[in-house]
């Protein structure tokens, strides 16, 4: 269980909402359990699931399961938990347990203890030969569900028992519910964690600080204490993680813009810091664009959508100039976050353009296995983003699905 917080953080940082599927001719449709889900989102999830399940189990079981999990998690993101359960049921590897674990956590968040407990049981029915890292990946969701279902006293008992890594997670839960009077005590816990030298504790400390910051309003004295924790963590955690934490802290500032005049300026300073951290190292083109997309979303919140789009367009241009160095099977994973960000910033047409780019990049490989993976992940991404593809895009998605034939 010692890896759980790190894994949870990784999942938090991972590009959200990848897969989904459409209703290609012959695609088995699943009735949505979320009444607010748009029909096109259901179709996209169906198409994504169908593309994933088209991948032959032999010899591609592990790749098939990976994208099935992506689609199932997209359904969870969209609140379609029954669909996610159906998708998970088709997975033949340990990843089924990972989806069940996540479902347990979501049901726990919804207060549905019976379903949460059912999925916790399902998740832990692992079979005979699940490796430790797979088992822990499954337990991430289960542990989260347990934490959510736990009583306050139980949480405190656990906090006294568990390792640094897990204690940090529980402290973050406490921080989210903290009263102003508890700030100093919790921050002291954070400082102790950071001073312990444990990297997990340091990462957890950042998450705790973010939770604390949400209740600070314009209390700049306390904000400076938060900033000091972040400054101390610089260099102690990997750039991707640090950037993610800084961006979420910037989000807290940006949430305050309407109420406090200085919040925008403070957020701007955090974003400048993010860019500085990003620019300290060389990134592979396929790695840098998703980070730039995340930054652009916050730049838009701070300085307007045009500024965010400009930031993102610079990243897209850089990717395009290096595109030939990126194998076609890796291009979609870079382009989808950019398209998602463009849509979020109101650039719907441009988002569609980048999605088309991702779709066509994913269709370039002469082999159906990577094309199916890309199609499933792109459908999931479009579904979560909320775009209703135009007729031409539907046609293209369906054509790619129809073309998923040998060679795999």
């Amino acid at each position: 269980m010692t890896t759980l917080i790190a894994l949870a953080l990784l999942l938090t940082l991972a590009p959200q909402g990848e897969p989904a599927a459409t209703g290609a001719p012959g695609t088995r449709a699943i009735a949505s359990s979320n009444p607010s889900l748009a029909p096109h989102q259901s179709r996209l999830l169906d198409l994504g699931r169908d593309a994933a399940e088209a991948i032959p189990v032999d010899p591609h079981e592990r790749d098939r399961a990976r994208v099935q999990e992506v689609v199932a998690r997209a359904a969870i993101t969209l609140g379609d938990l029954k669909r996610a359960e159906r998708c998970a049921g088709e997975i033949t590897t340990w990843r089924r347990g990972a989806v069940y674990g996540e479902l347990a956590a979501v049901y726990a968040e919804r207060g549905d203890r019976a379903e949460a407990e059912r999925f916790m049981r399902l998740a832990q029915d692992l079979g005979p030969r699940v490796l430790d890292w797979q088992r822990d990946r499954i337990r991430v969701g289960v542990a989260r569900a347990q934490a959510i279902l736990g009583e306050a006293e139980r949480v405190r008992e656990l906090e006294a028992l568990v390792s640094d890594a897990e204690r940090g997670k529980i402290t973050a839960v406490r921080a989210a519910k903290a009263t102003p009077e508890q700030f100093a005590a919790i921050l002291e816990d954070v400082r102790r964690s950071t001073a312990s030298g444990s990297l997990d504790a340091t990462a957890n400390a950042l998450e705790t600080c973010i939770e604390l910051a949400k209740a600070l309003d314009a209390d700049e004295a306390r904000w400076s204490e938060i900033d000091a924790v972040f400054a101390a963590a610089n260099g102690k955690v990997a750039r991707e993680l640090y950037i993610g934490a800084l961006l979420r802290l910037a989000d807290v500032r940006l949430d305050d813009v309407a109420a406090h005049a200085t919040a925008r300026e403070k957020a701007g300073a955090l974003l400048a810091q993010v860019k500085s951290v990003r620019d300290q190292v060389r990134w592979a083109a396929e790695s840098e664009l998703p980070i730039t997309a995340s930054i652009a979303r916050r730049v838009a919140r701070a300085d307007g959508n045009d500024a965010g789009i400009s930031e993102l367009e610079r990243g897209i241009a850089a990717f395009k100039s290096n595109e030939e160095r990126v194998a076609n099977v890796f291009r979609g994973q870079a382009l989808r976050p950019a398209a998602e960000a463009l849509l979020a910033l109101g650039a719907r047409d441009r988002a569609l353009e980048v999605y088309r780019w991702a779709i066509e990049s994913g269709a370039l490989n002469p082999n159906a296995r990577p094309r199916a993976e890309d199609l499933a992940e792109t459908c999931a991404s479009i579904a979560v983003a909320g775009i209703d593809p135009d007729e031409a895009m539907w046609g293209r998605l369906n054509a790619i699905r129809a073309g998923l034939v040998d060679p795999w």
Binding site: D132, L199, R282, A284, R325
Partner: protein
């Protein structure tokens, strides 16, 4: 090559030519694989170039398939699965997938269906390489930061990019869960193409290979460079057989963070007139990190159940032959329930570069000896002695789950004859002479570690062959045959560090790669094909072996009868386990004539 008839088969994905053969059509493979394809056992595939399986493509190799490659002029002949590609090579005990040379394949006959051992044959083709997207530590590539980073890449040793935009030979990334495919029951023979001075290809090379890749039952024999080398990544392995390698038998490098169980290493030589590291076995197990050793991830792994047989020489001092284990560049390794016998130099030797450019202690990192008393959880913390640590160490460093960063426990050592060995090359100053001086300084002989310095042979039998003169001061006698089943101190162990219940390791009670009653090398390894495994057939892994199928070709036939008759009166053809080849064995063989099993 037999009966070559150049008939081109045009395909969309790769260049092929087919020719009739005594063993099946010969398919010449001359260019990259862009389109997924299957190689079938009714053909023999001949690599005529470095062949990349490009991203997105899957090469499936059917059980029983032979890949017999050929070097001519300046050609190269390696098979490389790039990042994003998949290699599915799943053989069986009866029908392994064999990668070898044309020269070897030409010796295969009905009575010797997989040929006869050629002790000084090597470098006759390239190798098998898997390239993945797991984290690696590599300081030689400009721009790679010192802490784990998804952008850190390296180019595979011996491979050459054809242009500045050619990314095929690169490995490394940010996905430790990466999947490069499945290798099972694969035998690699006589490879290790010479590329340049001190640049040869390793038998099986894994660069940044992730933990969703499955590798088990791998055999390497007579490879000019290392037998298996793993650079970074998180791939695990089980059932590994490595024989007569020209450099290190097993090399773990550049931040590999994985597990290996059941490793069988027999050190030897594969090139006449060779020197250590270029035809004569160097280290049994070599463990490294990035050359600039404060880069992370650092190599951090666990080895259980290794049987490592050395090749001790007549030389003395520092010229005794081979090291059992070499430790460099901030490596952290736990070796447990293993067996080492017959090495000419030290059991444990830590080494730092003489110019101070790397090694233990660089940039405030822990020195070697401190690692033997520092809990594995040290890697989970940052600090001055752990620079460049990753953000999510419990995700990055998953292999070790208890004990200290470096340790050797529940292990038996035997026959390290070089009592006058100088240890001046160690990172630890002032060690006395002798092969165990460094190990003992590190606590090897402490009772709490449950290690044994045995006086009795810890395997069932071991026969060394004729003397090979390596240099004017060094001669060796490589292993001629071995029954590697645990014996004496290896047979049962009161364990202090049993294998964790992690879904990968299997709990055992013996030291080394084999229990007393079973061997897993029958039928698919070169050593077994060549009669170098002397274990009676009845101890072959029962689930798939047929004891009377003496040559392991899946059939009890005239070839097996010939083998049995040739072994009459010796243990070599014993199928009923009474230690002798006699009428009872003959009766058993005739009674199972035909398809085995």
């Amino acid at each position: 090559m037999k009966n070559s008839i150049s008939v081109f088969l045009a395909t969309a994905g790769f260049g092929l030519a087919a020719a009739a053969s005594a063993h099946g059509a010969e398919i010449l493979v001359t260019s990259d694989i862009n389109t997924s394809t299957t190689w079938t056992k009714n053909n023999v595939y001949i690599l005529k170039a470095d062949v990349y399986i490009n991203p997105g493509a899957t090469l499936t190799i059917e059980e029983g398939t032979v890949v017999a490659s050929e070097l001519a002029g300046n050609t190269r002949a390696a098979l490389i699965a790039t990042k994003g590609a998949r290699l599915i090579a799943i053989g069986t005990q009866a029908e392994p997938i064999i990668f070898t040379s044309q020269a070897d394949y030409d010796t295969w006959t009905p009575t010797a269906p997989r040929g006869a051992y050629r002790p000084t044959a090597t470098s006759e083709w390239g190798n098998l390489t898997l390239l993945g997207a797991g984290f690696v530590s590599e300081d030689a590539v400009s721009g790679n930061p010192a802490s784990p980073n998804a952008n850190n890449v390296a180019i595979m040793e011996g491979l050459i990019a054809s242009s500045p935009t050619d990314t095929r030979p690169f490995y490394g990334g940010g996905n430790d869960d990466d999947n490069s495919g499945t290798l099972s029951y694969v035998s690699l023979r006589y490879g290790g193409q010479f590329v340049g001075n001190n640049v040869e290809l390793n038998g099986l090379a894994c660069g940044g290979v992730g933990r969703e890749t499955i590798i088990d039952h791998i055999d390497v024999i007579n490879n000019l460079d290392d037998g298996i080398e793993i650079w970074g990544g998180t791939v695990n392995m089980q059932y590994v057989s490595i024989w007569n390698i020209g450099d290190d038998s097993l090399d773990l490098d550049q931040g590999w963070r994985g597990k290996i169980q059941y490793g069988f290493i027999v050190q030897g030589y594969c090139k006449a007139g060779s020197t250590s590291g270029s035809g004569f076995g160097d280290n049994g197990i070599e463990m490294d990190g990035a050359e600039r050793s404060d880069y992370q991830p650092v190599t951090s792994g666990v080895l259980y159940n290794m049987t490592v047989v050395g090749n001790p020489g007549t030389g003395t001092g520092s010229n005794g032959g081979d090291l059992a284990t070499a430790w460099r560049d901030n490596v952290n390794m736990q070796i447990r329930q293993s067996l080492f016998t017959g090495f000419g130099e030290a059991f444990v030797r830590s080494e730092n570069p003489s110019d101070g450019s790397g090694g233990f202690g660089l940039n405030g990192t822990l020195n070697f000896q401190t690692r033997w008393s520092t809990p594995y959880s040290f890697l989970l913390a940052s600090g001055a002695t752990n620079p460049n640590a990753p953000a999510n160490p419990v995700t990055m460093y998953r292999a070790q789950t208890n004990g200290n960063l470096c340790e050797i426990k529940d292990t038996v050592v035997h026959n390290f004859p070089n009592t006058g060995l100088s240890n001046s090359g160690s990172t630890i100053a002032g060690l006395p002479t002798g092969p165990f001086a460094e190990a003992d300084f590190l606590g090897f002989s402490n009772a709490a570690n449950a290690n044994v310095k045995a006086t009795s042979l810890p395997v069932t039998s071991l026969v060394r062959g004729s003397t090979i003169v390596v240099s004017p001061t060094l001669s060796v006698s490589p292993v001629a045959s071995i029954d590697p089943r645990a014996a004496n101190d290896a047979a049962n162990a009161a364990l202090v560090a049993p294998a964790p219940n992690d879904g990968f390791f299997e709990a055992t009670t013996f030291r080394g790669a084999f229990p007393t009653n079973e061997v897993w090398t029958c039928g698919w390894t070169a050593a077994d094909d060549y009669g170098m495994i002397s274990t009676p057939r009845k101890f072959c892994t029962v689930s798939v072996a047929c004891p009377t199928d003496l040559n392991g070709d899946g059939e009890v036939s005239a070839a097996d009868l010939a083998n049995l008759l040739a072994s009459w009166g010796t243990p070599d053809g014993d199928v009923n386990g009474d230690g002798n080849t006699d009428a009872a064995d003959l009766s058993a063989l005739l009674g199972t004539w035909g398809t085995c099993g």
